[in-house]
Structures are given as C-alpha cells and as structure tokens.
Symmetry: C2
Subunit: 484 residues, 2 copies
C-alpha cells in the first residue's frame, strides 16, 4: 500500500472516484492526472450556456481545483498520461511543460472520457465550424454568435478557457444561418440553443427521424416542435461535407430524399457537428487490455478492466445493460458519476458494484420533453434475443377537464414469450420526461407488462389522469400480447 | 347463467366493471342500480370546479346515461338496493317512485362508494356549511361563493343537479370568510379553491401538521405554501363545533395550542367539513358479510367478499397493501377503477386479480406538488412488523445551473433488518409529484434501498440533476442503514 491510487482524468468519473476514495480511506494518497486545464465541468450544460440560459461558464463547474485540493486530492493539471505499464504498475506522464515522469500506482482508474467524433467532417482550421464536446468549443461558439460589439467577455469567466480562441471568435461578424449536423440529443439541444440566439437554424439528419435512440414516436414529435419553433428540420439529408476554405461557407448534402436534385449546398456561416463521441483509450495501447462495445474499455461489475488493479469508468468504459445483461457502451453522466464513486469505494476496501445501466436518457426541445429507456429499436431487441412487441399510445397527461392536459405518447416494448418489459419512451410537453424513471425502475426490476399495468401510480387531476399514460400503454400492449 | 351480473353503484368501480364485462361477455346481461341521479363523476375534480379552473360541471362527467346505455348496460338510476339475500341470490330494490322490486343475480358487485364523514359536526340544516363528497355539494358551494347577480347558472349544466339547492345558495349573499375543517388533501385543495375565489380562508387542522398521511416534511412545506398564498393555517387547532342556527356564523375551536385562551370562535360565513369518508355498506347488513379495515367490506385478491358470488370494489371495499401484504382501506380513484375493471373480467370468465395498492397519492397546493406512497409513519411501519429507519433530504430538481431548479424534499423509509424500502414522500414545486411513481414501482418490486440507489434514472439538466433527488435520498438513507 505504499503507492497511491492513480486516476487519469479529472471529470465526473475521475473526481467522483478520488473524492469517495479520500473519504473512505483518509490516510491513503490519491493522484489525479488531467491532461488539460478543465476539470469537473458539466458537458450536458453546454447547450444551455450557448443558449444564454446559463449566464456564466463558471456556473457549469462543479468543483474548482482548490476545492479538489481541499478534499486532499493531489490534482495535477497539464499532465497527460501517455502509457501504462501494468506489469511494473506505473504510468508514463508528459507534462504541458515538456517533462516526462513516471508514477507508480497501487490501483489505477482510467477515466479519460470521450471526444467528439467528427465522422468524415474535419472542423479543424475552419472558422465557424465546431464540435461540442469541450468547454472551449462552447465558449467559442458563444463568442462567435454574439455581435462583436455586444459580446460580454465575462460570459467565459473561467481561467482555464482558451482566451485567444474566444477573442478571435468574438471579433468575427455574428453568423446568421447555422447548420447542425446530426439529430441526436446534442444536435436537438444545439438547435434550440442557436434558435434562441436568433439564428436561422437548419438541422441535418441522415435518417428518417431525429433522436434515433428514442424511437420514431419521439423523433416525430420533437421534429414537429422544432419546426413549430422555426428550426428547419432536414431528415433523410445526409451531409456530404463542410464547404469553405478558412471559414465555413456552406453545407453540402444529399437533397434527393427531400425532393431535391441530388447534391445541394446550403450557405451557412456556422456549423456544429454532433455525430457522436468516441472513447479515449489510447493510453492503454500496447497493454493488451480488452476492449468491447464501441471500442470502449471492457469492465466488469466492479469496473475492473482485464488488467490487474486497473479500473475504467465513464465515457471510455463499457457497462452492463440492465435488460440484456450484456456489455453496452452508453456514455452518459450518471453512469460516469456512479461508476467513479463505486470504484473509489472498492479501491478503498469496500467492494461496491458500479451498477447496471438501462440507457435512461431525457432531452428537452423547446416545450417538448422526451425520454427513453432500455431497448426500443425492434432490431436491437431481436439481436438481444427478445421477440419484441411494440405499442405506442397517446394519452392525456392530466385529467381531461384540468387545464394543461397534453397529449403524451408512450411507447412500450415487451418480449412476446415472457411478457417482460424491455424498453420504452415518453414524449409530451407536460412533465413527460421524469415519467421515464417509472419505466427505468420497472425495467431494473424485470417487471412484466401485466405487472406494469397493475402498478399503483399516483392519480391527481393536475398531474395525472386516473389511468396514467404508462398504465394506458401497458393496458394496450397487454391486449396485443394476449391476442397473439 | 340465466340471471344478470348485477352492479350496485354507477361510479368508477361499478361502471368500470359493467363496461369491461359487456366487452368480454357481449351476450350476457348486466344491470347497474344507482340510488341517485349522478353517475360516473370525477369526485377528485370537484375542488377545481369550485375554484373555477373547470368551467362546467359537465366537464367532470366521464359518461352520460345514454353513453352507458350505448354500451349495452342496463342502467337504472333512482334505484336503491336496500338489501341482499345471498342464499336466494337476489337484491331488494326501492325506486325513487316508491316501488319495491326484487332482482336475481348470477354475480353481484357492491360498488356503493363512501360518504363524507362529518365527525361530530352536523352540517345539515345549516346554510353555508357543507361537506364535499357529492356533486350537489360542489354545485351549491360554487353557487354560494358567487355574488347573487354574478352567478352563471350554466356552471352547473347537468340535469342531475339539485337545481333548487343551487338556486337557494346562489341567492344568498356571497361569503367573505371561509373555514375548512380538516387538513387532509380535500381540505388543502378546497383551501386553494376558495382562496382562488377571493375568500379569506382559514384551514383548521387537529394535529401538528397538515396531510398526516404524507408525513411531516410534506405537511410543513404545504403549510408554508398555503400561508404564502394568503391562507391562514391553524394547526393544533381542534374544531369544537359549528356555530349558528339556520346559517353558519362561526367556528368554535380550541386555540390553546396556538397561544390562545382555550376555546375561541372565528366568525365565518362558509364552512367546509372534510374530515374523511366512511364506506357505504348498509345494504349488506344482516348478510353476515365480513368487514375489515375502516369498516369496509373485506375482499380477496379477486375482489370477492365472504359471500358467494358477491364482489365489492372501490371506496366501500378493502384491498391488499403492496408493502405489508395486509388488508388496507384506502379509498382512491385508481383503486376503484382498476378493481372494477378486473372484477368485470373475472365475472365474464377471465379471472383477473384486482392488484395491490401502495397508497400512492398526490396533491397540489398552489405551486407546490406533493405525493406519498407506502408506509411513511414510523408507528404504522412498526405495527406492520418493520423496524423503520427514515431520512428526509433536500435536493435540487434540476442541475443547479439550470433556471427553475427548486428544492425538492424526499423522505424515504426503510426496514432496518432487510434494507427494504417501505415508503416515501416527495414535495417541491418542480415536477415533484410524478416522481412518486418511481418509488411506487420500487415498492411494488420489493426493492431494497441499495437497489434504489443504483437505479439508472434519467439525467438532463432541465429535468433532473445527475443525482436525482430520489437517488440522493437513497444514498443518505443507505449511509444511515450502514451506520447502524
């Protein structure tokens, strides 16, 4: 026990682990290496910063470096771990100052997160083109969107920010037309954010409905809501490339599905590419560590990798799916925080499972709320060994006579043989998103649809009709299951 | 199979049963006796009608008599079942016209509901004093609250309404000061409703906190909200009597706990007594039927009473509690609808359990939302054989940086020996009430608190922080359970 617990990465998973470890094992040492300057930032809050709903970038930081130090954590920013020697139990570190050092560990946690995937679209060197997976990009977009004489530099009030990049973007004329490439949840949130800043926004999506992970019912209502708020939604419109030399000038896309004549170019002066993220695993190259879904580091129920005393957590690591029991890679905030915290306890001597994931996620699009859990796609359900039966119902969110009652669409997916619930989604403007937690809980309890139908859910006219939309959906799906 | 399925009572349970039965057994006959004129009305909507949020009384009706007839149900209003002969399998019926008839049945469902308990307070014959468990009372209060020249008779636009009573109340000068006797959920809702109509409202409650079934944490925040909206909340203020001869003049109450000198009288010109309801079981007097909790008719998992081929459902019947497995009596809307529907299916030949109840309930008080489930009171938990451990936490409803994040109090109760969750409550202004369904689902799945802590609940800044308030509460309660 002479060497410290070494953590690589100072965001959700890494700092959760280090903090828990220090609380549980106050006499032991923990070192956190972070290659950049940013720590403990809320990735999910960036669209709301760009929108202007969040006033200061510092509002998105949970912990400052000095708060981390006060917890007794040895945080070293500007330290990139470039290699791991699992036999010697050391990591190789390169500092921003150009030094190389070696650090021994008793236990190692890889919490390196992910980075924005750009697909075939290289945004580097192209002014006005961005991805959105780091705070510097958010600060730069925010500065760019403002008119040069109207930008408030206090918006990006964090010392870690790339000030030069912010100032360069602030100095450019404000854009008028924005393209979002990719209709996942970041794309949807950015469409709302930029529309909120007054831009003419075009959301490009490769396939036929937005938010593919949420299923068609959600995708359609969210698209309707975006259109109603003035966003141009272009589904079945694969983007072919970003047009421009030093500065973004247009989006080239396949307009055939939309009735156009093959390739077209839409002139834009802002482009945000949000086509997913990839796990950061390079530091383990050559170690022989096992990887799995999405190329992420394979972990077991305690977050252990295939290397001795090496753990992984967060967006770089796999997890176990609550419905399939199989390996899954779903980079989400709670997963990272929870796994980090559990690993911190385990390393401190209190073995704690990281918990399973159900893929629970929620997204807001203007006044529409959407959420999903488990397996919704029938093909994915079949691949997991289920015989999926799916129903979507539209039900009221409140008693019909109570003002504000709104159409809520609930999709439930069950396995035909066992009646087991395997997934679902909810979309609507009235308290729809938080209702997904009921389904998440039912999924983790392996409930059948008849059991869901018999749940004693709350009835009160302002919040839910006698038969909650989830109960209505379960009733209809039971009818379908019975009829087969 | 020569005799019909006879149902007594044409509200939630009775008509759910009759409708389901007709769908499942279209060739068989169903007769529904209803002693009054009203059918299928939303009791829970009455406060919102009085408040004026619901414009027309007819909005509170789910089914009209003609719609019931279209379903092939033989509905007979003004027919009171006054006795049951389980050996002959007949019911004795008295009609509003004064006739007595006898009706044979193959199966009988008693769905006679409940009636307002007045405790020691007799409101009859006292103008301006009401209970609130029937539509005529709601219509009368609404008419009374309006100034005589401002009352819109179309508000009570239902032929069944007691028109004479409405007109008499409409003609009286409008009240200025109202007393609500009883701080249960009807009392809280009526306080909001009458305040919304501009009255000076005083809410009297016998014990120290409102909404006793919801626990102290809820009671306190709801009281604060009522006070902030101008309602005078008088806890520890047992009412001693209604003062007045033909017309309510005051409320006599024990003011000692509030610092007053024993008995005091508050002058009021409107009083609503909401001190609970009692099950209507008189028609079974002399049959030897078993009764149970609250004097309600004892039923088994299929809604069967101790009499052969006689079922009971709704506010007149007991149910099985999901947490204790014991008999319980909790008159709530979903319970009635669900049990009626299940019994309809069972009688039609498809045996269907009525489902267990978890006591899930929600209430709105102005901008505050509150909900409860399971066992919250520690004494009740002990009586049920648990060793209760309870924690209340205050957590944010959204990410801290997202506007609208509001303090949400979650109370969880667990059993010390097994770590099993046995109950909980949630209160807060931001989407608090529907979150109770997560706990209701966890309760029905017999989850432990560590399992609740590992639930993969949705995180999205506008709807929930990374650690949902429920997860925060589970984490804290787990710490307490571990520490013991």
């Amino acid at each position: 026990m002479s060497d410290p617990f070494v953590v690589v990465g100072a965001d959700a998973a890494g700092l959760s682990a280090a903090s828990k470890f220090r609380r549980e094992a106050p006499d032991r040492e923990v070192v956190v290496f972070e290659k950049g300057r940013w720590i403990s930032y809320a990735f999910c809050g960036m669209p709301y910063f760009v929108e202007g709903r969040v006033e200061r970038m510092s509002d998105l930081l949970s912990l400052s470096p000095s708060e981390v130090a006060e917890r007794g954590i040895d945080l070293r920013r500007g330290h990139e771990v470039v290699g791991v020697n699992p036999d010697a139990k050391t990591v190789a570190v390169e500092t921003a100052a150009g030094d190389s050092v070696e650090q021994s560990y008793d236990d190692l946690l890889v919490a390196t997160g992910g980075r924005a995937s750009t697909g075939p679209f290289d945004v580097r060197g192209l002014d006005g083109a961005f991805t959105l997976h780091d705070m510097d990009a958010a600060a730069a977009i925010d500065a760019y969107v403002a008119e040069p004489d109207a930008y408030d530099p206090d918006r990006a009030d964090v010392s870690a920010v790339d000030r030069e990049r912010v100032e360069r973007n602030a100095a450019m004329p404000a854009p008028e037309t924005a393209a979002i490439v990719g209709g996942g949840y970041v794309g949807v949130e950015m469409a709302e954010a930029l529309r909120g800043r007054g831009l003419d926004v075009h959301l490009f999506h490769r396939s036929g409905h937005l938010l593919p992970d949420f299923g068609e019912a959600v995708g359609e209502r969210v698209a309707d809501e975006l259109e109603a708020e003035g966003v141009t939604v272009r589904t079945n419109a694969p983007v072919e490339g970003l047009v421009g030399d030093d500065r973004i000038e247009g989006i080239a896309f396949d307009a055939a599905a939309g009735g156009g004549a093959g390739s077209e170019t839409l002139p834009v002066d802002l482009a945000v590419v949000g086509v997913g993220i990839r796990p950061n695993t390079e530091l383990l190259d050559g170690t022989g560590v096992e990887t799995g879904e999405g190329g992420a580091i394979r972990t077991d129920e305690y977050g252990r990798t295939s290397l001795p005393d090496v753990y992984a957590a967060g967006d770089c690591a796999t997890a176990t799916h609550a419905v399939t029991g199989e390996e899954a890679w779903m980079p989400l905030g709670l997963t990272a925080n929870r796994a980090g915290r559990a690993i911190g306890a385990t390393v401190a001597g209190d073995p704690s499972p990281v918990g399973e994931i159900a893929g629970t996620a929620a997204v807001k699009a203007f006044d529409m709320e959407a959420a999903r859990v488990g397996l919704i796609d029938e093909e994915a359900a079949r691949e997991a060994g289920f015989d999926p039966v799916r129903e979507t119902v539209t039900a009221g969110s409140r008693s019909g006579y109570y003002p504000g009652a709104a159409e809520t669409d609930v999709t439930l997916v069950a396995d035909r043989d066992t009646d087991r619930l395997v997934g679902g989604s909810i979309v609507g403007p009235d308290r729809a998103a938080v209702r997904i937690d009921t389904l998440a809980t039912a999924l983790e309890a392996d409930m059948t649809v008849p059991e869901v139908e018999r749940l004693d859910l709350a009835y009160a006219p302002p919040f839910s009709p006698v038969w909650d939309p989830i109960l209505v959906a379960a009733k209809v799906l039971n009818g379908t299951l019975d009829g087969d």
